[in-house]
Amino acid sequence: MATEGHAPTASEYVIHHLTHLNNTGHAQENIIDWSVINIDSMFYSIVIGALTVFLLWLAARKATSGVPGRFQGIVEILVDMVADQAKGIVHSAESRRFVAPLALTVFVWIFLMNAMDLLPVDLLPRIWEGMYAAGGGDPAHAYMRVVATADLSAALGMSTGVLLLCLYYNIKIKGVGGWVHELFTAPFGSHPLLYPINFAMQIIEFVAKTVSHGMRLFGNMYAGELIFILIALLGSTATVFGFLGHVIAGSIWAIFHILIITLQAFIFMMLTLVYVGQAHESH
């Protein structure tokens, strides 16, 4: 870690940017530690989540069947898009009453959390360092990551939510008996010898779905964030090459990243609908 008095090295800079602000005050030491919570991820996801539902609520509050304004229009486009997708994937009107709004929330929420990546990579962390130093702390320990979806715990938290939804709908639609029967007889068929294999396959399927669902979002956003950090490092060399490199590469990557943040939010939403839809189907 950088100590006061000299600029951080490149590796210190990267590590500093990739360390979460958590309740322990230093980087988490174990891979899994349930006593640790990432304050920065929670702060940004809750603030952005509140902003998401506030914006949507703002549009819903004034929703009129007359001529819509621009803001209502764009929210309506989103709602219509999600409603259409949900209708095509989840074949239960009753389930859609919860799943479709959930998909909309997920899409907008993840999109906005991803969009935090487009802020200058040092902007919010530097402000936080200033505040932390003003409060008497060591700015080198003032960690802050602004992209909540680039936090594995947060991304897996959301995909675990989808897993719970899948389990819930499996039981609700098929009944406990029906679902247990499916766990042991699908995909290979009903034969006592096949029961363990079927069950193992089902467990693997659920785990793989959930992990890949969360990991895909996390991986994309983490990689994107890392590239922004590296581009910022290029600029920090304070040479003509570094400056031009920073401007050009930063612009290109930011423009490309607009596609990625939208795409990842869309993929997460679609997979949520697909997994919930699968929970409604019997093998």
Binding site: N30, S35, V36, S45, V53, L56, S65, Q72, E76, V79
Partner: protein, 157 residues
Amino acid sequence: MNLNATLIAQLVVFFILAWFTMKFVWPPIVKALDERANKIADGLAAADKAKADLALAEKKVVEELRKARESAGDVRTSAEKQASQLIDEARAEASRIIAAAREAAEHEAGAATQRAKEALRDQVAHLAVAGAEKILRREIDAKVHAKLLANLKQELQ
């Protein structure tokens, strides 16, 4: 790249946000969308109906015009017929009156002629008698010669 309690917290936030959207965001927007769709459908249907009504009304107008024209023609024809009938009747009446008048006049003239003839005949008879008296210079007994005079009168007719 670590797992920690953020996962649980994020999961809870995830469901709270979804619940909020389901409760307060989704229903009014979907309701507005459905209502607007209905409104547009109703508007289109009304427009179609109005168009059909207009076409129907135009057809009716043409039909009514045609009927009016037809009945006007009928009225004119019957009026003409009536008029010519009236004229015929009047003409017939007039000629009847003229004929009657002529007949009456002729009759009157015939009677007058007859009367004049009668008067003339009487006067001639008297003249003849008076003439004969004068010629004979003698009084003629009217009673004796009445028969003779009557015969004379008969011959004069």
